[in-house]
């Protein structure tokens, strides 16, 4: 198993006045699958280009296994990159494409051919060796790009939205494929995507980026259940965000008052410190918003959407100052049909209500 650790120290990149990446530090462990997640323009692709050596940082350091590679050219880094549009060489056959990195490393022709065939086996496309990239489908091209990358066993593999151009079904399939290859090779992978679902399913850790800086770094569970900011709560999955004020703090638990309703309720903190009297946002995930009797809130049903396994209820709260709420539960056949305009009572467990600082200060 070949894999390396990656350390980034205060790495920074500007284009004129525009800060593409504010000074950023990040450690990726050997064999880890780390995802850089964020909206477009958040700096994730910039960070990836800097690691790959395709762009040059203004400040900071990049260390691979403790060796400083900040100023090494791309071809000396032993990093593999899977590009967003695959970047297969159009004038070479699939076999030549895959053998290219070996040829650059002066591997003998027969050995290169043998290993190319092996890589094609790994991505389950052994029969396309003599074809040209344009003769393959998008999904097949994606696999070839992956094969070309793993064939020379780079210590770190970077993937820039590799599944962005594929349709949903193919994307799910390729996600599994990439996970399998990661397991088999044990290579360190840094993966860029703007798809939060993809990030959640694939990563050991997620590095959520926003406006050229890291917003939160942690396991998918951390980010999902303990978001450090409203941005994180909003970006990862659906969430109901209710304005509230802290009335008391006891350990992990908080006494809060919702909006202008002045109804007391309970919540848990997201790991940071809260002060009494502080305005917060309380996040309740749709699946934790329980429709039934005796809840904290009530509202009128405005819309019902059934998206396969989940049924979503859109509810306008009767309390002033609260936004439209979404509640979700598994779709069941035979349950009583909802009626638009019907009055519903909504509740949640204190453990499922997470307080987040309102604003950005932490």
């Amino acid at each position: 198993m070949v894999s390396s650790s990656l350390r980034i120290r205060e790495l920074c990149k500007r284009y004129g006045d525009f800060v593409a990446l504010a000074p950023t530090s990040l450690d990726v462990a050997k064999g880890e699958f780390l995802t850089l997640l964020g909206p477009s323009g958040s700096g994730k692709t910039t960070l990836l280009s800097l690691i790959a050596g395709l762009a040059h940082p203004d400040e900071g350091q990049i260390l691979i296994d403790d060796a400083d590679v900040t100023h090494s050219p791309a071809y000396d880094r032993d990093i593999g990159v899977v590009f967003q549009n695959y970047a297969l060489f159009p004038h070479m056959t699939i076999e030549d494409n895959i053998a290219f990195p070996l040829k650059m490393r002066k591997v003998s022709d027969t050995e290169a051919r043998r290993r190319a065939a092996e890589a094609l086996e790994t991505v389950r496309l052994p029969h396309v060796a003599k074809r040209y990239p344009r003769e393959l489908s998008g999904g097949q091209q994606q696999r070839i790009a992956l094969a070309r990358c793993i064939v020379y066993r780079p210590a770190i593999i970077l993937m820039d939205e590799p599944l962005g151009a594929l349709d949903k079904k193919l994307r799910d399939q390729m996600q599994l494929e990439i996970k399998r290859i990661h397991r088999e090779l044990g290579t360190t992978i840094v993966y860029v995507t703007h798809d939060q679902e993809e990030a959640m399913t694939m990563s050991d850790r997620i590095c959520l980026m926003n406006a050229g800086a890291i917003e939160q770094l942690g396991t998918p569970q951390d980010l999902y259940f303990r978001p450090r900011s409203v941005f994180v709560a909003d970006f990862l999955g659906e969430s109901n965000l209710l304005s509230a004020t802290v009335r008391g703090v006891d350990g992990e638990g908080l006494d809060i008052v919702l909006a202008e309703q002045l109804a007391a309720s309970r919540a848990v903190g997201n790991g940071s410190r809260f002060a009494t009297g502080e305005p917060v946002k309380v996040m309740v995930r749709p699946q934790n918003l329980v429709v039934g009797e005796g809840g904290q809130l009530s509202g009128r049903l405005t819309d019902v959407m059934i998206s396969g396994s989940l049924t979503r209820l859109y509810i306008a709260p009767e309390t002033a100052g609260l936004p439209q709420l979404v509640a979700a539960h598994p779709t069941r056949s035979g349950s009583a049909p909802y009626e638009i305009g019907q009055r519903l009572s909504l509740g949640w467990h204190a453990a499922d209500a997470v307080a987040i600082h309102d604003g950005k200060e932490i």
């Binding site: 790959a52 050219p73 791309a74 990159v81 590009f83 970047a87 060489f89 159009p90 040209y132």
Partner: protein, 571 residues
């Protein structure tokens, strides 16, 4: 990277042209306006200027109006038909002006096809004088420049979204209205670009009026040739050049005011074209006119039999197709009709009689012709290589890096296309004469590279814009060093583009007469120069033989270039 190109243009474009313009105001006793006084003293020169403008304007109108349907048809038909149509346009485009003008002499002559046919049909009793008048010059000019107009308009039309007229149809526009209100306005930048390209080229023409025109169709560049070749009056030649240059600059300035020069380089597509600078009443009047045209067209379509009306709007009508093929026939026929005559024993009289290779033997056994041929090949290859070597790096620089004043640099590099060729030629002759380069192949290669390099830069820029730089990044991330990246990835992918720009430069040089006219001196003629010398002396069947060879050679060259281009596009 752009330094060699800038050096070349400064030394062999800016300096010679500057010298020539200076000569017009510097006499033996310093500054003088005597040349200009002579220029405006009699009405002779102004009359020539007016004739030049008249011929150019009529040529431009005819080329644009007849070229538009051709370009339109090429832009809408399927891939195979398009290749066929394009082949004929390109063949005509690349066939030497000389060959085409000569072909018209043969065709329109007293014993040419047209006179013979008319007499045998009994329409006229004796051969008419079809040559050496305004009509023959116009036919020759239109034949020479129509392909240019078609190709220029085509480049814009191919970028028009085919869905827009369809969208108009779903919104309730009948075909006529959809064409005039949607398609036509979007194609206007192409029409304007074609108009100015044809007009400016026409102003600087001398081959057609010299061969097909009489005394009353003398154009301004012919005056410059006379001044240089017969009287060696550099000052006066300079003054006429200034007049010519001023006219061209006025045309460009007017164009820029109305439409903006950016429409010419092809960088702006109709999709994001800036709105026309015509504003207020002019724009409203134009819109009203288009609405009127649309309405009239739809009325006419409604009058047609209903079967015609219901056909698929995406298919070109029979009328359009017939028109286009007729035009293509007219511009290709003279050259093709000349081929049987070159094998005939009856001279250049129609119909061809007998079969002989005598004229080809005459040409091949004549050292003058064979040396001219060799020299042209040599100079052509030299020009192709030099233009590629200095044009490609400049294109890389213009596309890949952020340099200040990019637009100005581009304009400078493209200026050899704008400055009338005759002015460059005379200026180069003057400078070469002092450097001892007259009659040398080196001088010719340098001169030809100046006029060929803009095409190389434009072609390579287009190729580079389509080139995905992520492929280079991929190669580097896979371990390829910069040189290996160039060798295994960049150049193989750009290869076809580089080859076709080489061919373009080669063909430009191979067909170049204006610079060769002076820079070859009396000896060491290139093929076009030898052709010109012969044809101005006498019209003989051996010239038909040479023309046939040139025609076939160019046909092969285009065929190869098209193959290359398509292979590159298939990837």
């Amino acid at each position: 990277m752009g330094a060699p190109l800038v050096l070349l243009l400064v030394l062999f474009l800016v300096y010679p042209v500057g010298q020539l313009l200076l000569l017009s105001v510097y006499g033996d006793n310093g500054f003088t306006l005597a040349q200009y006084r002579q220029l405006f003293a009699s009405s002779v020169y102004l009359d020539v200027l007016l004739i030049t403008l008249k011929i150019s304007l009529v040529t431009t109108l005819v080329c644009v109006v007849t070229g538009y349907p051709i370009a339109y048809l090429i832009s809408v038909v399927g891939k195979d038909r398009k290749a066929t149509l394009l082949f004929w346009v390109l063949l005509s485009f690349w066939t030497s002006f000389l060959v085409r003008a000569f072909a018209w002499i043969v065709l329109l002559g007293r014993n040419g096809v047209i006179n013979k046919t008319l007499v045998s049909l009994g329409i006229i009793s004796s051969p008419a004088n079809l040559l050496y008048n305004f009509g023959s010059v116009l036919v020759g000019m239109v034949n020479a420049l129509l392909p240019l107009a078609v190709l220029t308009m085509l480049s814009v039309m191919e970028n028009i979204d085919r869905n827009l007229p369809r969208a108009a149809a779903t919104l309730g526009a009948r075909p006529g209205m959809a064409f005039w209100k949607i398609y036509f306005p979007l194609s206007l930048p192409g029409v304007a670009a074609a108009g100015i390209m044809v007009f400016v080229t026409a102003i600087g023409f001398f081959i057609v009026p010299a061969l097909l025109g009489g005394r009353r169709e003398t154009m301004i560049t012919q005056l410059i040739i006379d001044q240089v070749q017969q009287t060696m009056n550099w000052g006066f030649a300079g003054a006429i050049s200034v007049l010519l240059l001023v006219v061209v600059l006025i045309v460009f300035a007017a164009y820029d005011r109305l439409l903006g020069l950016s429409t010419m380089t092809g960088t702006s597509t109709p999709r994001n074209a800036t709105p026309s600078r015509l504003s207020g009443p002019a724009a409203r009047a134009g819109d009203a006119l288009l609405t009127l045209l649309g309405g009239i067209s739809d009325r006419i379509i409604l009058l047609l039999p209903s079967r015609r009306r219901d056909r698929n709007p995406d298919q070109a009508g029979m009328g359009l197709q017939a028109f286009v093929w007729t035009m293509l026939l007219i511009i290709s026929a003279p050259t093709i009709l000349m081929i049987p005559l070159s094998f005939g024993t009856g001279g250049l009289n129609w119909p061809p009689q007998g079969f002989t290779l005598h004229w080809y033997e005459t040409v091949l056994n004549s050292p003058v012709w064979t040396q001219a041929m060799l020299r042209s090949l040599l100079v052509g290859i030299g020009t192709g290589l030099l233009a590629m070597l200095i044009g490609t790096p400049a294109a890389f620089l213009l596309v890949r890096s952020e340099i200040p004043g990019k637009a100005a640099w581009l304009a400078f590099i493209l200026s050899p296309i704008v400055v009338p060729r005759m002015i460059i030629a005379v200026g180069l002759f003057y400078v070469f004469a002092r450097m001892g380069l007259v009659g040398s192949a080196v001088g010719l290669v340098l001169g030809h590279t100046v006029v060929a390099v803009p095409y190389v830069v434009m072609t390579m820029m287009a190729v580079l814009r389509n080139y995905d730089t992520r492929l280079d990044h991929a190669a580097q991330s896979l371990g390829a060093r910069p040189l290996a990246t160039l060798r295994f990835v960049t150049f193989p992918i750009l290869g076809a583009g580089m080859m076709s720009s080489f061919l373009f430069a080669f063909a430009t040089s191979f067909d170049e007469l204006t610079i060769a006219l002076f820079a070859t001196g009396g000896l060491n003629a290139t093929l076009p120069k030898q052709f010109w010398d012969e044809v101005t002396l006498q019209v003989s069947p051996s010239i038909a033989a040479v023309s046939t060879c040139l025609f076939v050679f160019m046909g092969l060259l285009i065929f190869v270039a098209e193959r290359l281009r398509r292979r590159a596009a298939a990837r």
